[in-house]
Amino acid sequence: MIEQLLHLVEVAIWSSIAAVGFGILFNAPKKAISTIFALGFGAGFIKFLLIGLHLHIILASFLAALFVGIISMPMAHRIHKPPVVFSIPPIIPMIPGYYAYETVLSIMKFIFIETDPSKKIDLINAMFFNGFHMFFILISMTVGVSFPMLLLRKDSVKKITI
């Protein structure tokens, strides 16, 4: 149990390091870096906790992105920065890179390498499985992070009271 928790914390820390890395790439203000770290930690923790509880990765990504989208609004009030500044970097670590890689790999094998028709069927299966996972995770991430702002939009975050 404790081992699992420690592993979860480690993964969450790496996800927040990735978030901060992208924050710096996007030239986020210095004051926002600590918030990006915290939100990245929270998002990674929630996502991997939910996956550990056997929730599907698409739904887990959606809920983690939703968490970032919701928390970034009171944060915007507190440190007087627009919410985009610290809502985008923390969700970048959730990009389904491995699914994308598997999709490209199976397409490549399908076109250039495999000649056996029965194995080609497996590759088509892999293409669709990984490709649609990637697609839906991307959609759930974007929707999750931008939904709170779109729902509560009153032309500025400063007019939203929580």
Binding site: W14, A18, S146
Partner: protein, 256 residues
């Protein structure tokens, strides 16, 4: 307000919105900030915002004089410090009722905002690549491979940027270099899960900001801008895939 004054106001508003667009703000935010600044200048503003060009008309309501001006948007480079500084400036301008001179000074100050030093960016993004690799189940050796390949990929990306190559060719080169180096990890079978390093080495190029902005623009019914952003995001993804694809083809013997 005479025309020279209207011209000054229009130039200020155009400068500001061009900065915002180039820094990666969505269309709604640009319109919002335009209206905030215009309300301080006691005029109304209507705008046509496209990906490369801005057109605005400033209308002074008492005299019914209007002034239209067009400006091109500089090359895009995501910069959250600029977005945040302009947002803060718009609130200060409203609350303290700034004069046009104060606003011009502030916009000029924001134009001069520097980025993080290149070495810091390289280190931070490479660490992010290593972090990604951990998330996908790589061990520390894989993370080291991901770190090195991201570092070199981003280094090439920055260097090619200095000689002003086309952006998609830059992305392609960055992705090719990063994935070629990560493929070496697969060829020599380093670590527990060498494929994760290859999958994560190109993620620093992922167009996260255009794709998220595209979604919010589409939801705000700025369909044209949303489609343009989506297309640029898609072009970038295709350039990344091409680089990864070629690297994998070179080493295809080992990947089967």
């Amino acid at each position: 307000m005479p025309f020279t004054k209207l011209d000054r106001a229009a130039s200020l508003l155009l400068d500001m919105s061009a900065l915002l667009m180039a820094s990666g703000a969505n269309t709604n935010r640009v319109n919002l900030t335009l209206n905030r600044f215009a309300s301080v200048l006691n005029c109304k503003v209507s705008s046509l915002i496209s990906h490369k060009t801005l057109v605005i008309t400033v209308l002074e309501e008492d005299t019914n004089l209007s002034y239209t001006k067009v400006q091109n948007i500089p090359p895009y480079a995501v910069n959250f410090t600029v977005i945040s500084a302009l947002s803060i400036a718009s609130w200060k301008a409203i609350n303290n009722d700034w004069s046009i001179k104060q606003m011009e000074e502030e916009v000029n100050r924001i134009k001069g905002i520097t980025r993080y030093p290149k070495l810091v960016v390289l280190a931070a993004v490479s660490l992010a690549g290593a972090g990604f690799c951990n998330l996908f189940g790589g061990d520390y050796l894989n993370m080291a491979v991901a770190f090195i390949s991201t570092f070199l990929g981003l280094f090439v990306f920055q260097k090619v940027h200095e000689v002003k190559f086309n952006v998609y060719i830059r992305v392609f080169l960055g992705s090719l270099i990063a994935s070629t180096i990560a493929s070496l990890g697969v060829v020599y079978d380093l670590g527990a899960n060498p494929q994760t390093a290859l999958a994560t080495s190109v993620l620093f190029l992922v167009p996260g900001v255009p794709l998220i902005n595209s979604f919010t623009d589409l939801m705000d019914n700025n369909i044209l801008n949303g489609m343009v952003r989506f297309t640029t995001g898609l072009m970038t993804v295709m350039a990344i895939t091409l680089g990864l694809f070629i690297a994998m083809l070179i080493f295809s013997v080992k990947l089967i």
